[in-house]
């Protein structure tokens, strides 16, 4: 029936029909093999461009904050230096040696005698609290040093006042002043002092590489 329709056409109409068919086929081919792939390529190019733009704004933001952050870092390092100068260090494998160097002049000046520094355990410093959950790669501890001595109550308190004045980051963890049974003017004195110190008992954790 279709053939009849085509056969009944005038020859010019038949040529026109065939020409139209050819152009239609060319149009469809162009759409399928040129336009559609090109649309995909354009979409991909736009995505890549958007990605680069995101990168650019991220880098802009990082570089914009870098100057402020440099100042903040300098301030932080300056504040840390105050702590670092007060850190107790291991000398001859223990903290007591360094503590003895610092405390002996004050204790002798206050009139304490028979001073000794037995080793004590180390307490860990609490991690930064929940509002600041980030824990540093290098932790610090409370290095504790026990000091035993003999002297009067006044000597012990005079020594303590000197320590608190001269070594402001040294805290008293525990204390015992007990009257001697043999001499009422003589006290058996035990101080447990604590200092901040670097925690060298565990390997440092992974630093916060590029975390924001």
């Amino acid at each position: 029936m279709k053939t009849d329709f085509f056969d009944n056409m005038a020859p010019n109409a038949q040529r026109g029909f065939i020409t139209a068919l050819i152009f239609a086929a060319v149009s469809v081919a162009l759409y399928m093999f040129a336009v559609v792939p090109e649309q995909g390529a354009l979409e991909r190019a736009r995505r890549a461009f958007a990605e680069e733009e995101t990168n650019k704004s991220r880098i802009d933001s990082i570089l914009k904050n870098a100057t402020d952050e440099k100042n903040r870092l300098a301030e932080t390092i300056h504040r840390l230096r105050i702590y670092h100068e007060a850190l107790l260090e291991r000398k001859l494998g223990n903290y007591a040696t360094h503590a003895r160097e610092l405390l002996d002049p004050l204790a002798l000046g206050a009139g304490l005698v028979e001073i000794d520094y037995p080793e004590t355990s180390i307490r860990k410093l609490p991690l930064p609290d929940a509002r600041f959950p980030m824990s540093p790669a290098q932790l610090h501890v409370r290095a504790t040093v026990r000091m035993t001595a003999h002297g009067s109550y006044q000597s012990a308190i005079s020594f303590l006042l000197r320590v608190e004045k001269e070594l402001p980051l040294v805290a008293i963890q525990s204390l015992r002043i007990a009257a001697s049974r043999t001499d009422p003017r003589r006290q058996d004195i035990t101080f447990v002092f604590e200092w901040p110190a670097l925690d060298d008992t565990i390997p440092p954790a992974t630093p916060h590489a590029g975390r924001r």
Binding site: A10, A13, F23, A24, A34, E38, P126, R131
Partner: protein
């Protein structure tokens, strides 16, 4: 002579078959042709846009690549800042936990009631630190998460009259002793039977007072946790 009617026939015979011969022969091929041209124009437009976008993307990528070194430096600086500030927070927490007991202990020597002999004065050791992880399979904590420590202050003495022990309790209520004695948590007394007494002499009393000290907080300023 007969005259045939004049008829100007401009159509060819074959064209009489179609009801609209011009549409078939000219318009449809033209429409198809323009559709093909439209496709080419469409593709050309897309192609041009793509070239433009790719060119912009390339120049942006080059610009970003040129700033990579500065970005890496800024990232390293950021990581260093985070580490240093985390260290500082921990040490600030330590500084917040430093307390001055010297003035209160010095004041105690000055204000202790006459008639009392101090035998023992103790600030207890803090409790053990809890470094257990939330789950047994996890490694131990790198540090305690509790920032509060509690200790007690105990005072033992001997007095001829128990009244003096009461005076000492009143003295310790003074705000100047707040760093030492926040709240009385226990007291006991007994007669001192260790020393012999003369006739008509009362036996001295040994007393023991125990106070809770103010909680020691290692929370850095700005992140303080109130004692529970």
């Amino acid at each position: 002579m007969t005259t045939e009617a004049f008829h100007l026939n401009l159509m060819k015979n074959g064209e009489h078959v179609s009801s609209s011969p011009v549409r078939l022969r000219v318009v449809v091929p033209m429409l198809a042709f323009f559709a093909a041209i439209g496709m080419i124009v469409w593709w050309g437009s897309l192609f041009t846009q793509r070239l433009l976008v790719q060119s912009n993307q390339r120049s942006l990528a080059e610009e970003n690549a040129a700033r990579n070194a500065a970005e890496s430096e800024a990232k390293a600086q950021n990581a260093n800042y985070l580490e240093q500030s985390a260290r500082l927070r921990q040490l600030d927490g330590y500084a917040a936990g430093v307390r001055r007991l010297g003035p209160a202990l010095a004041s105690l020597a000055e204000n202790i009631p006459v008639g009392i002999q101090l035998l023992d004065l103790t600030i207890s050791e803090p409790g053990p630190q809890d470094l257990r992880p939330a789950h047994p399979r996890l490694p131990p904590l790198r540090g305690p998460t509790n920032t509060i420590e509690r200790q007690t202050f105990a005072i033992e003495g001997r007095t001829a009259k128990p009244l003096y022990a009461g005076k000492l309790k009143m003295t310790l209520r003074d705000p100047s002793f707040a760093p030492l004695a926040e709240r009385l948590t226990g007291e006991r007394s007994r007669l001192d039977t260790s020393a012999p007494v003369r006739r008509n002499e009362t036996r001295p009393t040994l007393f023991h007072l125990e106070y809770a000290m103010p909680a020691r907080s290692f929370a850095a300023p700005g992140g303080e946790v109130k004692p529970k």
